[in-house]
């Protein structure tokens, strides 16, 4: 059930605010046990284990980097082979046209360049950034999310969404405040 963007009102989700990362972690795990799936945690720095706690896994970035790395080495070496062997062969002191050792540095740098750019671009693409507007920014106090507060949001689209249960889970695990967040 997607949100109708022509209607600017409507409930996006319920957001709990926490003071400590440990509380956020416990709350996320408890919420997962209650069966909530469309949820996300927000924190000023990466917290290890939180992905497992909210049940999130994604390995597309490493695979992208691997594929682009292979693409980089292929393109780099092919370019060298094409220029030095096929299109513009030059006999220098009887050395082989396909001089493998001499071709390694450039092919290698091409690999790194492709892989590194694909890592950064892949991160942006899969994260759907840049994104100027997101409903979570409407949450009360959310500007502290990049400073010293930790948030857990359960979206209203979650099939198991039940405001009372979510609020209870969050409060039990030390949420300072639980507030509704609109589109």
């Amino acid at each position: 059930m997607a949100h109708d963007w022509s209607d600017p009102s409507g409930l996006w989700g319920l957001v709990g605010e926490f003071e400590k990362p440990e509380d956020l972690m416990k709350a996320a795990e408890a919420a997962k046990h209650k069966g909530f799936r469309k949820m996300d945690a927000y924190s000023p720095f990466p917290i290890h284990g939180l992905s497992e706690a909210i049940g999130f896994r994604d390995n597309r970035v490493p695979w992208t980097v691997f594929i682009f790395g292979i693409l980089g080495v292929t393109c780099g070496y092919s370019l060298e082979y094409y220029t030095a062997v096929i299109d513009y062969p030059m006999n220098i002191g009887g050395r082989p046209l396909n001089s493998v050792p001499a071709f390694i540095p450039v092919a290698y740098e091409a690999t790194i360049l492709c892989a590194a750019f694909s890592a950064a671009i892949g991160m942006f693409v899969y994260n759907k950034l840049p994104k100027p507007y997101h409903p979570i920014f409407n949450t009360k106090n959310f500007e502290r999310c990049t400073q010293d507060r930790f948030f857990l949001a359960v979206e209203a689209e979650d099939p198991a969404y039940d405001a009372k249960v979510i609020e209870k889970v969050m409060k039990e695990n030390g949420a300072v405040e639980v507030s509704e967040c609109d589109y």
Partner: protein, 466 residues
């Protein structure tokens, strides 16, 4: 427990009574409170701008007159241009080393020094990059170095170390810039949320690209960051190895040695760490950042400088050894007639003093705690690393196989002006960076703070009972 008791508070990576928000404000006040930057900043910025002007002037004069304005001559076709290129690119290496290799090794202490070390890398590579382009004499044709289909049906010669150089340096710059920028994004988000100024909010919101600290984003972000580190680690080693191939692939006495790649890489790290400390020590003092860049950071950086300095010194000893052991007459002549004695000998002995002897003070813990002494040694190291490239380039070129090569190399006014100019560019960019971007990686320091939360309490309790 005994060990913990001996540990002093200033030995920790984050000292004092900190919270997440105090870490925030100690870094972002440099940007959000512009009144903090006083006379010192203005003075250094003015010096930087003036020298950058000199750089512009010398580039203009170079383009107008040609390479003849430099001191390069026939045996010594490489002079200040290549010396300074190698020097600058070496300085950049500590930044990538800190951000990549230490990240892979899970060395948490890198967190508070990596940001300005990376900035230093980028600015140093910018300074370095000017030289190879300008020393061609016809920089408007620099694009010939890139492989593109053209009407002459010619391609670059990929067997040449100079082409490897182009690939290595441009890749290095691009990857470092990407690494640096993605590292800044979460900090831009912090600045966006903390700035009260309308323009600041708009600028930082644009740069943060809607970063909201979502866990799913962090998940991919960390994967990317680790991969970038893994890719940059061999990159940083390859760049200076390839720079050393510019020399080592030749047959010039004093250049044609297999030890060059590791010796150059160690020298680069050595020079880079010296430069990180040269900036880091005043920075933490003037801007009250001693609780984030602590004595322990300085101590460990001194140790790395000492270790890489010993590798470099081993390289010098090896150069002496192989010129004797190889039985090559020209190698031995170079050593005896140009390095140990002769008109350039003072430069060689000064190099041995600066790079071989001066860093040995870091064996003593007292010296590693003495900021003035560290600054002096770091300055000597910077001079020494420059001298090393001087020893390699003009000394070998003015003494090789033919008597016709026996000619001196003297830099001209414009050589010196351009070198001072690149320093000005570096200073200007660093000053702007200190004023407008977070000098310390805020989110990584918070992460470190979270991870060492437990340890801090123990030490404080022990300290209190004393």
């Amino acid at each position: 427990m005994a060990k913990v008791q001996e540990r002093k508070l200033n030995d920790l990576l984050i000292t004092g009574d900190q919270t997440y928000s105090s870490i925030d404000s100690s870094v972002d006040r440099l940007i959000l409170n512009q009144k903090l930057h006083g006379k010192g900043w203005n003075m250094l910025f003015a010096i930087g701008i003036m020298l950058t002007g000199l750089l512009g002037l010398s580039i203009f004069w170079l383009l107008y007159q040609g390479i003849g304005i430099w001191g390069n001559n026939v045996p010594s076709a490489w002079g200040f241009d290549i010396i300074n290129f190698v020097w600058w690119i070496g300085i950049g290496h500590a930044g990538t080393l800190i951000s990549a290799i230490l990240l892979l090794m899970r060395q948490q202490w890198r967190n508070s020094i990596n940001r300005f070390a990376e900035a230093m890398t980028i600015f140093a590579v910018m300074c370095a990059g000017l030289y190879p382009i300008l020393h061609t004499g016809r920089p408007w044709n620099a694009y010939w170095l890139f492989p593109y289909p053209n009407i002459l049906a010619m391609w670059p010669q990929f067997r040449s170390p100079l082409m490897w150089d182009v690939a290595a340096v441009s890749t290095y710059f691009s990857v470092s810039a990407v690494f640096w920028f993605v590292g800044l994004i979460p900090d831009f988000a912090t600045l966006r949320d903390k700035s009260t100024n309308k323009y600041g909010k708009v600028i930082f919101a644009t740069l943060a690209m809607g970063w909201r600290g979502s866990n799913q984003h962090w998940h991919r972000y960390e994967q990317m960051y680790l991969l970038l580190a893994g890719l940059s680690t061999p990159l940083v080693l390859s760049v200076h190895s390839i720079v050393s191939f510019d020399f080592a692939i030749s047959i010039v006495p004093g250049w044609n040695v297999t030890v060059f790649p590791p010796y150059f890489v160690a020298g680069a790290v050595f020079a880079g760490f010296a430069m990180v400390m040269t900036w880091g020590i005043p920075l933490r003092k003037w801007y009250n950042l001693k609780h984030l860049i602590t004595d322990r950071h300085i101590d460990w950086m001194c140790k790395i400088t000492l270790a890489t300095g010993l590798i470099v010194f081993y390289g010098y000893l090896l150069e002496i050894f192989y010129s004797w052991y190889s039985g090559n007459f020209y190698e031995f002549k170079l050593l005896m007639k140009t390095r140990f004695t002769g008109p350039y000998a003072p430069m060689y002995w000064l190099l041995i003093f600066c790079n071989g002897i001066a860093p040995q003070v870091f064996w003593s813990q007292k010296a590693r705690r003495n900021e003035t002494l560290i600054m002096v040694v770091c300055f000597l190291i910077s001079v020494g690393m420059w001298l090393e490239r001087f020893v390699i380039i003009p000394m070998s070129l003015t003494n090789n196989y033919l008597p016709s090569s026996d000619k001196m190399y003297y830099p001209s006014f414009w050589d010196v002006a351009m070198f001072a100019g690149t320093m000005g560019l570096f200073i200007t960019l660093m000053m702007l960076f200190i004023r407008f971007l977070p000098v310390i990686n805020i989110f990584e320091v918070k992460d470190l703070f979270y991870k060492m939360g437990g340890k801090k309490e123990i030490v404080e309790e022990v300290g209190a009972s004393k």
